[in-house]
Every structure is written in structure tokens, then in C-alpha cells.
Subunit: 301 residues, 2 copies
DNA sequence: AGGACTTATGCTCGCATCGAGCATTACTGC
DNA sequence: GCAGTAATGCTCGATGCGAGCATAAGTCCT
């Protein structure tokens, strides 16, 4: 009935990321045949003492995973973002979680992040899809409109700003280059959109997460949430590079993390992979009290 | 009834900040005699197309103010954060808004931010309250507990990290040094807490906002939302300093903002204030496409 | 008019950081 | 022994930033 008070439902959505085989990965649920979906569940207004605890509960229930690092990301609440909710307005409080596991738990699997955002991986130079598809299409879309042209310029550079993941996704959405445009309009997607689509606004949420994480790398020691307790400097570097979508100068990277006190060597070495054995390092939590903003600062500068 | 489904209410809270007379100010509503409260209102699940539009609507309704720059801050949803909501669970999606106005609109007034957080203003050296009250009390609170001691060390430095506003407020809360502790426990506050209290968790929300804003200053040109279209470099510097709670070297500040292309001179000069006339500058939006992360970078480094 | 005071503006050191590259070491595999 | 690979040490040069000196151009007071 129209006279009933309009209701709001609150869901807790989880962007759970890991890095393995030099690739950032996102935990998704649901049948393979369907569009991927983020793990999520309803807030229990009485049971969940805090939103974060509610999120952890939902994640365990749905994937069996006990996540460690968790951070609130953003709250999504546009009208119409969940056409499945009927007359209910659905809010999603999204969280970013980082895990070390690479083995997909029950009913869930890891999805390569750069399948969702192929234009974000610049480790082997600018990805082909940018020059061949995205830039031309955006140029057509912008035409002579100065606002559109400027928006394209800020999002795609030069200079390329790795952090603007969300802005770029939303630009592609505005220009009709992702399948979610058709889906949101109630049409069947042509299937020719750039990157792999997700259900609802979940790819937008994932974009928010990747951008946030890239930014955070520069001023907080979050990478270590994704690594085992002991690691070589190359493993550390590869993990950072996977997330940042850029490559780094090896010697300078080593200098950076050692000089700033982010890591400390354990005397141990690993061997067996061809090449000189590498020393194993560990994260040095004391850096938090020594430096104001410890992280991989020169990532995007 | 216990059998009724537990309900969730969603509110939109606004942290509206301005800078005038070299002081950051926060818009609060409610009678002077009572604890200050942030402007807020319920989400209209049918009417508000987006959360941000809903927030703008609430702000206009409550204060008559049309805010310009708006950014989502955080969503607060701890159980028990709103004892007045009865059995309802209340979520607040908080937004940060920046305005130029200094004249308090209807039923509202500006409150000096450093009345809320006197320990955050380091423009005249370390504030007295830190050395005389806060540090000794925290030392007593920490005792020999290594975790507590480390928490105190990271929050209070050295080095002082201007961005950790929320962490510091929560530390003071943990240690029972702010009046909200007693209020939340249902007791009358002794009135001896540090800084001025607000109702509910609104001071926590304000702390989140100040920290976020301080951080954002370093990589986005947000200061200009608080300034008139044309301003002198000293006005710009004073505004940054007011928010950051630090002083900056004048010549270096000028060099920074000019070299990075954040501002450009209009030929005009202002006179009449004693001292050599200053040139009027304006913000240069083109910086957004030229530099990846334009802002007052060296603020906290 | 002159001097004190205030603010704006230009410029120059010195240090730390960072990008880029060269050189050497120590393993694996054939 | 030799090729290949990765680790590690070191050196330039450019740039950014902290700190300060010096000068310019107004106001206000006497």
C-alpha cells in the first residue's frame, strides 16, 4: 500500500581482496553462470553491536572466512540501485577487507580484479584496451563539449593517476561503455562493454575499493595484510605493483622500505628459485610511532 | 512488541565547516543552553534520489543553507549510539560540507572547532592542555600496559600527526577524559572533560570530519571551497593553517602554490591593511588535469 | 617629512628524497 | 664451466622542501 511508511533495508557488503600470483583478486559469490556478486548480508539491528561486527558475521556466514583487516569504505544508497528490493530502499554499507588466503572458500571464488578493470593495469605499459577502445569511444562521446572533454582529460591523463579508479569507472558508465548501463536500463547488455560486469552496482563498489586501497598504500602500511609474516622484498614489491597497477624500480623500492623502517630483515634467506638467495623480511610495526604517514609514498608522484 | 521486526532508521548528518577570522567553524543547531548538535534529518526513502541529495534537502530545511561542496564522510551505526531512538537502530550517514558563509543562518550558529578539540590547534606551539592535562592523565591511564602506552605514543607522537584527529578523540574517550564517556554511561558528566562536548556521538563525527579534511588538504584543492573567488596568498595560507592546526613558512608556502600551479595571479592588488599591497589570486582548476594529486602536500611531512 | 611597523615578494643556501642506472654477488640449471 | 636469474650495494643528478636573508611598498604616528 502506498500509505505504509516507506522502508529502508540496510545491507553490509564486503569487498574482500587478496593478492596471489602477482594478481589482485576479489572474492565473489554466486553461480559461475551468473554475474558475480559481492558477499553481503542484512544488518541485524539487534544482534550486531557494530556495523563492522555485523559485516564480519555476514562474511563468515556466507564464505566461512574470518577476515582480519577491515575498513569501512562507503555507503551506497541511490534510489533504484537494487531493482530487486521492490518498494524497499536498500542501503549498502560497504567494507574493504584484506586477506592472505588464496584458496577460495565455500561457495565463493576469487576473481581477477583486472578482469573487472582491464584499463587499470599498467604494469606492461598502457593496456591495449585504452588506446584501441576506450580513448576513441570517449573522444566520440565527448565531441566538442568542453566539460566532457575536461572530464576525460582528468580521468585518463596524462598524467595517469592510479587512484582515480572510481572516477574512471563512472566516466565509462556515463559514456555507456560498460554493460551495467544497459542492465540498469532494464535491457539485455550487448555484451560488448569494457571489462567484466557485476550484478547491481557491485563493480562500482569494487572500483571504490581499489581506488581507496591504492591511495592507502601511499600512507599506511596496509600491504602487509596481504603478505605472509615473512617475505622477500621482491614479493613485497610484486604485491604493491599488483595493486598499484604500475611497476617500480627495484633498487629504489628496496631503499625506500628499508630506509623508512617499514621492514626489517630476519637473518634468514630463501633459496631454490634460481638467482641469488633473498633475505626474508618482516613488517616493522614500530614504524607507526616513528613516522607520521608510513607507506609506499612515491607510488603516484 | 518483541515479535515485531527490528527496525532501522537512517539519518543524514551534516558536518558543515567554514573558516573565518582564522578559525575553523562548525555549524551546529539547537538551543544554546543544550549540548550542540549537528544538522541532521531522516532519509526520505522515496523522495531522495540519492543520499547526497537527501542531505542537501535536510540542510536546507534545517538551516536554510545551500551547501556547495559535499562529500560522504562515514556511516555511524553502533548499537546504543542513539539512546533516544528507543528500540529502533539508528544509522547516520555523515557528510562533510564546506561553505564560505560566516553568518550563521536560521536557528543555527557556528562553533569554534578548537573549542571541541583544543588539543588539535598547534599554531601557537603545543597547546597547554596537552602538557598540563592530557599527557599526564593518559600516562596514568596507560600505566605499564604496553598496548596502551603504544597507543598513546602513536596518537600523541612525536612526531605529531595532524591527521589522527579521530584516533586521538577515541583515545581520550577510552581514557575517560571527555564528558561523552559519562553521558554515554547515563551519568551526569562531571563537566571536567577536555574540550566541549556535543550530544550523542556528534563530536566523534566532527573529529572524523576534521581528520578527513586535514588529509584531503594535502592532495586535493579543497581549501578553495572555503575562500572567496579571489584572495591573497596570506588569506589562503591562514585558511590552510586554521584547518591544519599548524603554521607554515610564508615564502615556502607561496613558492609551493605558485610553482604547482594551484593558483594564478589576477593583476589586481588590495591595499588598506597596513603593509605592502598584496596581489589577488584565484584558484586554477586546470591544475587538476596537470598534476595527479594537487594540494598542500608538505603539510604533515 | 621621517621613522617605526607591517606585509609582500624575490632569492639563495643546504639537506633529504627520488629516478635512473652501473656494478657486483650468489645462486640454479645445463 | 657457462648462461641465466635474482639480490644487493652504490653513485649520479634533478627536484622538493626547510630555513633564512634581503628588499619593496604600503600604513600609522609624531
Amino acid at each position: 500500500m502506498d500509505t505504509a511508511p516507506a522502508q529502508v533495508t540496510v545491507a553490509l557488503d564486503a569487498v574482500i581482496m587478496a593478492v596471489s600470483d602477482r594478481q589482485p583478486r576479489l572474492l565473489v559469490v554466486g553461480p559461475e553462470s551468473d554475474l558475480p556478486v559481492l558477499p553481503a548480508g542484512p544488518l541485524d539491528p539487534r544482534g550486531d553491536a557494530t556495523l563492522e561486527l555485523g559485516l564480519r558475521r555476514c562474511v563468515v556466514e556466507q564464505t566461512g572466512l574470518e577476515v582480519g583487516y577491515v575498513e569501512q569504505l562507503y555507503t551506497f544508497g541511490d534510489r533504484g540501485r537494487r531493482p530487486d528490493a521492490g518498494p524497499q530502499r536498500q542501503l549498502s554499507v560497504a567494507y574493504l577487507a584484506l586477506v592472505r588466503e588464496a584458496a577460495p572458500p565455500l561457495e565463493a571464488g576469487f576473481l581477477d580484479v583486472y578482469e573487472l578493470f582491464p584499463w587499470e593495469d599498467h604494469r606492461n605499459g598502457e593496456p591495449a584496451v585504452l588506446g584501441e577502445t576506450i580513448r576513441p569511444a570517449l573522444a566520440r562521446w565527448a565531441g566538442d563539449d568542453p566539460d566532457r572533454r575536461e572530464r576525460v582529460a582528468t580521468c585518463l591523463g596524462p598524467p595517469w593517476d592510479g587512484i582515480r579508479v572510481l572516477e574512471r569507472y563512472e566516466l565509462l558508465y556515463s559514456a555507456g561503455l560498460v554493460d551495467e548501463c544497459a542492465l540498469d536500463a532494464g535491457q539485455a547488455p550487448a555484451g560488448r562493454g569494457v571489462g567484466r560486469a557485476m550484478r547491481f552496482d557491485h563493480r562500482r563498489i569494487a572500483a571504490t575499493a581499489l581506488g581507496r586501497l591504492r591511495g592507502k598504500l601511499t600512507y599506511r602500511p596496509v600491504v602487509f595484510e596481504l603478505l605472509p609474516e615473512r617475505f622477500t622484498l621482491l614479493e613485497l614489491q610484486r604485491t604493491v605493483e599488483a595493486l598499484a597497477g604500475t611497476t617500480l624500480h627495484k633498487q629504489n623500492f628496496r631503499r625506500l622500505v628499508e630506509r623508512t623502517g617499514l621492514v626489517e630483515g630476519t637473518g634468514e634467506r630463501v633459496r631454490g628459485l634460481g638467482g641469488r638467495p633473498a633475505e626474508l623480511f618482516r613488517y616493522r610495526p614500530a614504524v607507526l610511532t616513528e613516522r607520521p604517514r608510513p607507506g609506499v609514498t612515491p607510488l603516484y608522484r
